[in-house]
């Protein structure tokens, strides 16, 4: 019996100035990024609260990527300082609660890093594919 391959749904939060532009850069260069990546633009990765990430998982995302500027490059100077503290902490918490922490990933992608965007997203999609759907992990 043929089994449909699991296509993970990954919501990727991208900061406007770096990652979103980097994704655009990848597109303009005609580099292929996986369609599993569902982008949501915010002004700064610092905007991403734990509540938003948790709601995203609650809505059924199999993986969440939080992406922003490299340290020192934040358009708002230190927004990503809070991101780098919050997201790893939330990751740990997911792990403590028995949900695979690898479903949440923090990555820095700058506006010029089109190739890095495709590489990071491809790798993450494959990783989440091996983890399976979130619904199986949390199903009652």
């Amino acid at each position: 019996m043929a089994v449909e391959e699991f296509e993970p749904r990954i919501v990727a939060f991208m900061c406007n100035w770096c990652t979103y532009a980097g994704a655009d850069n990848a597109g303009v260069a005609r580099l292929e990024s996986p369609a599993n990546i569902l982008p949501i633009r915010v002004m700064c990765s610092g905007r991403i609260s734990p509540e938003l990430v948790l709601r995203t998982f609650r809505e059924g995302a199999d993986g969440v990527l939080v992406m922003g500027c490299h340290l020192g490059d934040c358009h708002y100077s230190s927004g990503n300082h809070r991101t780098i503290k919050r997201i790893p902490l939330l990751k740990s918490l997911l792990g403590f609660a028995g949900i695979n922490p690898e479903r949440l990933q923090l990555e820095w992608v700058s506006a010029a890093e089109g190739p890095r965007f495709t590489q990071v997203t491809k790798a993450f999609v494959e990783r989440v594919r091996t983890l399976g759907p979130l619904s199986e992990e949390v199903a009652a």
């Binding site: 919501v11 949501i40 915010v42 002004m43 700064c44 905007r47 709601r55 230190s78």
Partner: protein, 451 residues
């Protein structure tokens, strides 16, 4: 400097310090404390008669000559060439002000009766639209690195002191002389004193390689002495710089590639420089008559205080932080406050001129435009929900939020719309316009409809 002094739209407030800054872009209120000069600026002609007449012959170290000469209690700054070219009385040095005992010959000598010992300090309130911080740098104190024996011989000097020796208005009228008053026959120049050093400052001070080359050139030219330059790298990055380096090499300066590690003051008064010559792979010890230390440029010792006054951040190296290292090197995170010159990072004259010109232009644009463009995605406080915890105040990179009556208060002129405060507030009492939680949640629901 003279142009600035003469310009009708520029008011020079000398001997003054900023006490307090409040307000924001377009409407800053600055309180300035102007200390008394004890000289009436309208009457003084800068003739210098008071200086001649001053009885305090012993004087105090002259800061303009980097301590290599002395000045009296009354003086005209910058060895008579200051702007404005008017006398000033140093209340810590003046015998009358300091000890209450003096016949005040200066007052008799002054042809315009400009000296006024009753002058008081005054507090001035200014209303300005923009601010440029150009507070400069401080020299690294070589005494912090005991290996260089700073203070143990008068012939161990730093770069700025050498500049004074070489200057026609300096203590030796431009002749390069040792403390004994004779021309040196051998001079060592040591790079990176206090720079590129884990025990001092990790950064490179940028300007020293070029001025060290200049000093080598001047020593050769004025004295014919042998010059040994102890360097790690030669940073000759600017227009004409590499060509100058080649020229100095051709002038017969010896370049020893190895950090000057130690200076020993010998019995006969000479200085022995110890280093490793890394190109030959051998240790060397060279005896010289004079050692010039190319000391690091550091942030001013009161940088903490100045930063607090103007709401500036400081980079890891202690200099004032620019808004963006590449794209906005003269802006700060406080709108309307700009940085000019070495207070932001070590730089030489051409770079400082470019930096300062840019800061000045930006400062003027604000005044000319008359209005400030702000981001549409600013945050907004929902007062009923706010419990005044203050986390948002800590988080804002632009100090746009403050607590007023235990509630968060947002200055939308300063808010750039990053939304970090929104993500931080535990009560959801701040919203990001155009990026509200509801809007983002709607997007999340929308994209996850994809199968």
């Amino acid at each position: 400097m003279m142009d600035a002094g003469r310009h009708p739209n520029i008011t020079l407030m000398t001997y003054s310090e900023v006490e307090e800054v409040s307000g924001y872009i377009g409407q800053f209120k600055v309180k300035v404390r102007q200390r008394p000069r004890y000289v009436d600026m309208d009457l003084c002609t800068g003739c210098g008669a008071c200086v001649e007449a001053c009885v305090f012959k012993k004087g105090v170290p002259n800061e303009f000559d980097e301590g290599l000469s002395r000045r009296k209690g009354v003086y005209i700054p910058m060895n008579g060439q200051g702007v404005p070219m008017k006398a000033v009385i140093d209340e810590d040095a003046c015998l009358f002000l300091h000890r209450g005992k003096c016949v005040k010959k200066c007052m008799d000598a002054c042809p315009t009766n400009a000296i006024d010992f009753d002058q008081k300090e005054r507090l001035v309130d200014l209303e300005v639209g923009s601010i440029v911080v150009a507070t400069g740098f401080d020299k690294f104190d070589a005494a912090r690195l005991s290996a260089y024996s700073w203070g143990k011989s008068p012939n161990i000097i730093d770069g700025l002191q050498f500049e004074r020796l070489s200057s026609a208005t300096g203590p030796t009228k431009g002749e390069i002389l040792t403390a004994e008053g004779i021309k040196p026959s051998r001079v060592a120049i040591i790079h990176c004193v206090g720079s590129r050093d884990e025990n001092a400052n990790r950064y490179c001070s940028r300007v020293c390689c070029m001025y060290a080359l200049k000093h080598a050139h001047l020593v050769r030219d004025k004295t014919g002495a042998e010059v040994f330059e102890f360097y790690m790298d030669i940073r000759a990055f600017g227009k004409g710089y590499e060509e100058f380096y080649e020229r100095v090499q051709e002038e017969g300066v010896y370049f020893v590639r190895g950090r000057g590690a130690e200076i020993v003051v010998l019995e006969n008064g000479k200085l022995q420089i110890k280093a490793e010559d890394t190109t030959l792979g051998i240790p060397v010890a060279i005896d010289v008559d004079m050692a010039i230390l190319a000391t690091a440029m550091e942030p001013q010792t009161d940088a903490d205080h100045v930063a607090a006054l103007f709401g500036l951040s400081r980079s890891a190296d202690g200099f004032f932080q620019e808004a963006h290292p590449k794209l906005r090197p003269f802006h700060t995170n406080t709108d309307g406050v700009f940085l000019a010159g070495t207070c932001q990072s070590p730089k030489d004259v051409p770079d400082t001129v470019a930096h300062a010109n840019a800061a000045a232009a930006e400062a003027l644009v604000i005044l000319d435009r008359g209005e400030v463009l702000i981001s549409p995605t600013t945050a907004m406080v929902v007062e009923e929900r706010c419990v005044g915890c203050g986390d948002c105040v800590l988080v804002c990179p632009y100090s746009a939020i403050s607590l007023l009556n235990s509630k968060a208060h947002l200055n939308s002129a300063l808010c750039k719309g990053c939304g970090t405060c929104v993500a931080t507030c535990p009560s959801g009492a701040i919203e990001a316009l155009h990026f509200t939680d509801q809007q983002i949640v709607a997007e999340i629901e929308g994209v996850l409809a994809w199968q």
